[in-house]
């Protein structure tokens, strides 16, 4: 991707949580969590299963109401890559990308750039139901990339990806940060992203 075709820099992005308290099924998962991310920063959430990584991401996205505290995410809404990618088995990859591009006002060059970044060119005419888990992940990442959102929240972004896919993911995230975007990702695997903030929810719970 050459520099001229890059999307413009993102406006002043900010992701903040103040005294955040999260409960799930009567169990306290996060207590008095405060964090603040500024343009270009990335946060990697770690912790054992059930520690509340996904719950925290959902609260940051505004999908669930925290039991206490508040979240500031500007400019909203967040770009979301959840546990499942939101793909429809009967829909072609190209149709899926065109729909989300239309919904976020992105042009054909944004679709082109996103599918090139995620190496989806040869899969464009494939129905989403015929993709492997890793390919689905890449399709979901391409959808996120063309959304034009400033703050990306990702749940296990690298889980089904092979080495080349992880490399592409790292490049995508680095490019987003370079443009002033913010990324928060929950993960078990080491993502190999440079210069990230870390938050271990397991330690948080033990403390």
């Amino acid at each position: 991707m050459d520099q001229t075709s890059r999307p413009p820099a993102l406006p002043d992005a900010r992701l903040e949580a103040r005294a955040l308290r999260l409960e799930r099924g009567g169990k306290m998962l996060v207590r008095d969590l405060s964090l603040s991310l500024t343009p270009g920063q990335a946060l990697v959430l770690t912790g054992p299963n059930g520690a509340g990584k996904t719950t925290l991401l959902r609260a940051l996205a505004g999908l669930l109401r925290p039991a206490g505290g508040e979240v500031v995410l500007t400019p909203g809404p967040a770009g979301w890559l959840g546990h499942s990618e939101g793909l429809k088995p009967g829909e072609r990859v190209s149709e899926m990308l065109a729909f989300w591009a239309a919904l976020s006002g992105a042009g054909p060059d944004a679709i082109e750039a996103a599918s090139r970044a995620m190496a989806l060119g040869h899969l464009a005419r494939r129905p989403c139901g015929a993709l492997s888990a890793g390919q689905k992940r890449r399709a979901g990442l391409a959808r996120l990339a063309l959304s034009g959102r400033a703050v990306w929240l990702m749940d296990e972004p690298a889980a089904p990806l092979d080495a080349a896919g992880r490399e592409r993911l790292a490049r995508l995230v680095a490019g987003h940060r370079a443009r002033g975007g913010i990324v928060a990702a929950a993960t078990h695997a080491d993502l190999g992203w440079p210069d990230v903030e870390r938050l271990d929810l397991g330690l948080e719970a033990a403390a």
């Binding site: 499942s84 009967g90 829909e91 919904l103």
Partner: protein, 221 residues
């Protein structure tokens, strides 16, 4: 703009993954074909029962797609994406229900007209019945969508949907069948019944998407 994009996608998905109108139409036809076997061969009885049976078959057919309308979205992560799309979930529910009505449920008035003739209704009564079903169809789907949103992602959603939707759909059933019965009996209540069916559809079109949006929002939380 984004509502139109969503409508086009839902329309496309109705054919790409759901077989378009085939499922509910087949169900509707099967119900129409089986009911006379139970009612018996007496033509007068059959004609008298026609409007009610045919409208009821359309009502049941409207519930066919309700489980998948939001159940799939809740299961595959699409619901989160719609919630964060900038489109309100109520708007998404309205658009999805409209797309369902036009892409999947459109044969219902046609089947009603054909069924009416087969059951021995006069041509006029059959056409009034078709008009009644056409006016009631959006309402039937809106209410089915509301029930589908409440039950999205639950086990035995189908049972729950029928229990929630059927009582709310009752006015539409009464007015659509009532219009055809009036036309058959020669009373001049066919027009008012059609107007009431339309009114019930419009009310459902306002309230059901709001309810569905709230139900989906609660589902995410």
């Amino acid at each position: 703009m984004s509502a139109r994009a969503l409508f086009v996608r839902e329309w496309r998905l109705a054919f790409a993954g759901g077989g378009g109108p085939a499922g509910p139409a087949a169900f509707n036809l099967a119900a129409l074909a089986l009911a006379p076997l139970a009612i018996g061969p007496d033509t007068a009885t059959l004609a008298a029962a026609g409007p009610g049976v045919i409208t009821f078959a359309a009502l049941l057919a409207s519930l066919q797609g309700a489980e998948r309308m939001f159940g799939d979205d809740a299961g595959d992560g699409t619901l989160e994406l719609y919630a964060l799309s900038g489109l309100s979930l109520s708007m998404a529910a309205l658009v999805k229900a409209l797309a369902f009505t036009l892409a999947v449920f459109w044969p219902a008035p046609l089947l009603a007209a054909l069924g009416g003739l087969a059951y021995g209704l006069t041509l006029e009564a059959a056409l009034v019945l078709a008009a009644g079903i056409a006016l009631a169809a959006p309402g039937l789907v809106f209410i089915a969508a509301f029930a589908g949103a409440l039950a999205a992602g639950l086990r035995r959603a189908g049972l729950l949907i029928a229990l929630i939707a059927a009582p709310l759909q009752a006015p539409l059933l009464v007015f659509a069948a009532g219009a055809a019965r009036s036309a058959m009996d020669g009373t001049d209540l066919a027009g008012p019944n059609l107007m009431l069916a339309l009114a019930a559809s419009l009310i459902a079109g306002v309230l059901a998407p709001l309810g569905a949006g709230a139900a989906l929002r609660a589902r995410l939380d």
